[in-house]
Symmetry: C2
Subunit: 103 residues, 2 copies
Amino acid sequence: MARPISHPKLQDVQLHEIMHALADPVRLEIVRLAARHPELPCNRFFDEIPKSTMSHHWRVLRQAGLIRQVGHGASRLNSLRTKELEERFPGLLAFVLRQRKTR
Amino acid sequence: MARPISHPKLQDVQLHEIMHALADPVRLEIVRLAARHPELPCNRFFDEIPKSTMSHHWRVLRQAGLIRQVGHGASRLNSLRTKELEERFPGLLAFVLRQRKTR
DNA sequence: TCGATTGTTCGATAATACTCGAACATTGGC
DNA sequence: GCCAATGTTCGAGTATTATCGAACAATCGA
């Protein structure tokens, strides 16, 4: 059986933890792609980055409460926790997604 | 004479750098206090934190473009770069200041 | 000029984070 | 069962960051 994937309650997530998760260009790009591509597998669009590195970034985002991972076959489908984030950090996603990709 | 204090142009600041500067509870608190107290000296309200540590945090915020420091006597007065930030990262300050102090 | 105030800089230490290869685990198809 | 696909975990190496005392610099008032 697949082990359960643990996600924090957003109520327990502090703002500085969110900021830390977003303080990396790759993770910002992941968030932007996840916004455009619901149920995004972990390695799509990131062929040049080793999968262990990607796994690390996904875990940081998950532990910060930004994304939710659901096992689906051999894959994990990643989705932004849009609604929950809006309740806990209103305006956060809108702000991040409004920004252009960092040069 | 006082050496000039260097501040980045906000156009050169990238989002992940802003996020990194805000990924620390002390610095978030500094920003919130700076919003309420324009021209805030570096060590006011932070008696329990060593001044060298505070100096470090102020520098991080300054280099990320979040605050501007102006020499004033033996002090440095710190102010949020509110207007410039709103142009470069619209909604950022509003978002941060909307959040409660992290528990 | 002396002393108090304010803050920076330097150096050391500890902690944390990023990257990535290798090995392992899980799943689904054949 | 075997294999390919997907992703995690582990460990190591590197880099960045946080913290803080001590020494230094600048300013102002007496």
